[in-house]
Symmetry: C2
Subunit: 302 residues, 2 copies
């Protein structure tokens, strides 16, 4: 049996190779910057090819390891999830939403271009995500349709967009922890979960117990990411984050830190890490990258 070369990589090297691969796949999938309407296409590339941690693509690839998925399929799934994530950042940064000027260390899309263009960038990135998942060279129609359903539900009003609506309504409110968890389960958790499920759907079929375990992992990992994000928002600098630090606290948005305090939020993150990794026990040694990625999410500094 040939061991794929990526199995030999250290986690940082594996992460770098996935990030490079996804950046290239996105660059190929996006219309060229000179295609009409050129300004819109340039803005789409500006908003999508800015680097970033690519956590969702990493989740897709790490989950793909479980099902021995092909790199070609994982690239498509990872690109689709990342396009949805990029669209949500562009729209969330707009003046009528979070009104932010800095993202990944650069001016936000509506600052660099204009509001109308940023609106159309987000709309177009969403369409492109679904176009990618419906490609005719993917090779498994039923699986593709399931992936499209998973991504569409995770993106819409009962997923990410719904979470953003709850978030907007919560400004200046005091939420309790269950309310905060519902908001984050939708706002960031739904798409993180979709990334894991899509990665799992790219390869050989999982049995019901495996699917259930992977879903349990996905939910805990998504929540973990948000708790760590809230901790970093109040402990890291703007320069380190590449986005405006302390913004959630300044906007009197409820965060895990504001609800639990910093120390308990850190303990909660450690608990979630245990639960997430514990859910992967059913996969034995086949889940190395998911475990490494969970640790990266827990201990990251930006």
């Amino acid at each position: 049996m040939t061991v794929p070369a990526t199995h030999l990589l250290s986690f940082p090297d594996w992460m770098g190779s996935v990030q490079t691969r996804v950046e290239a796949a996105l660059a190929r999938s996006l219309p060229p910057g000179e295609a009409i309407p050129a300004r819109l296409h340039q803005a789409m590339r500006y908003a999508s090819l800015a680097g970033g941690k690519r956590v969702r693509p990493l989740l897709v690839f790490a989950a793909g390891e479980l099902t021995e998925a092909s790199t070609a399929r994982l690239e498509v799934a990872a690109s689709a999830v990342e396009l949805i994530h990029s669209y949500s950042l562009v729209h969330d940064d707009l003046p009528c939403m979070d009104d932010d000027v800095l993202r990944r260390g650069r001016p936000t899309c509506h600052v660099e271009y204009d509001e109308a263009t940023a609106l159309l960038v987000g709309d177009s990135l969403q369409s492109l995500a679904f176009e990618l998942l419906a490609r005719d060279d993917f090779g498994d129609g039923r699986r593709q349709l399931e992936m499209i359903r998973v991504l569409a539900r995770a993106s819409g009003s009962c997923g990410m967009a719904g979470g953003q609506a709850i978030d907007l309504a919560a400004v200046g409110q005091q939420l309790n922890q269950p309310e905060l968890e519902l908001m984050h389960a939708l706002k960031t958790g739904a798409l993180m979960r979709a990334a894991v499920l899509l990665g799992g759907l790219c390869g050989k079929a999982l049995d019901d117990a495996e699917r259930e375990s992977l879903d349990r992992f996905a939910k805990r990992a998504g929540l973990l990411f948000q708790v760590v994000d809230d901790i970093l928002d109040c402990t890291a600098s703007t320069a380190t984050l590449g986005k405006t630090a302390g913004k959630d606290a300044a906007a009197t948005k409820p965060t895990y830190v504001s609800v639990m305090g910093l120390e308990r939020a850190r303990e909660f993150a450690a608990d979630l890490r245990e639960q997430a990794v514990g859910a992967l026990a059913v996969f034995g040694g086949g889940c190395r990258r998911l475990v490494e990625l969970t640790d990266f999410i827990t201990w990251r500094k930006f």
Copy 2:
């Protein structure tokens, strides 16, 4: 052979029956207004269940007649196209785009709710459109994937959203007729064409000549709709249209009337009607509703 009852209906009765059917299908497909986040879901229903002519669903059903498509499939396809259309209206009406306050005789979504909610309504309606087309009870995976590709391309930066970007850049510019046709081919034409193609994809397979003819019809019908829209914008009243009349002229947007003059625009519409109906010759008597609908689009007063 049993003749389906809808074949016996007059055109106005057929149109009414399709409109009623699509309204009910949309009402079933949209999340209930009391589901969390309730305000977002109420706003999605406000933006999507306001009636309107439902021209795109009518095109889906009329094209479905050619392929003897089932009503259940046509309802799904028509709902998906109409959700994309509804999302585009909500986003186009926003202050950073066309900044309009009246739509289908009622306050626009951001006036009735707020800008952030309207942004999320559009985003969520788009996700829902693709979720519907990926339903697992549709019964033909390859066909569904083709429909998703057709709708995604028609919606994105090389379709409707791209046309809107060109439109925004054209305000105050003098376009010539080919430039105007490119803009409209994307802005309104792409989704009208997708409606026809999706209707055709709901039933038995067409041969290459039939597909090519249907596509030729779809492109001419989409352009026809826009030319008539421009004529109505300068000849009908706000009360009749249910949206602000004379707005394009006031915004110094190029229209077919501003480029060609009213009389030549009317002749152009009549020519397009001939070309559209001519493209259907290959279908013999099986295209009655498409011809009737083309005449309705040509002679409508609102």
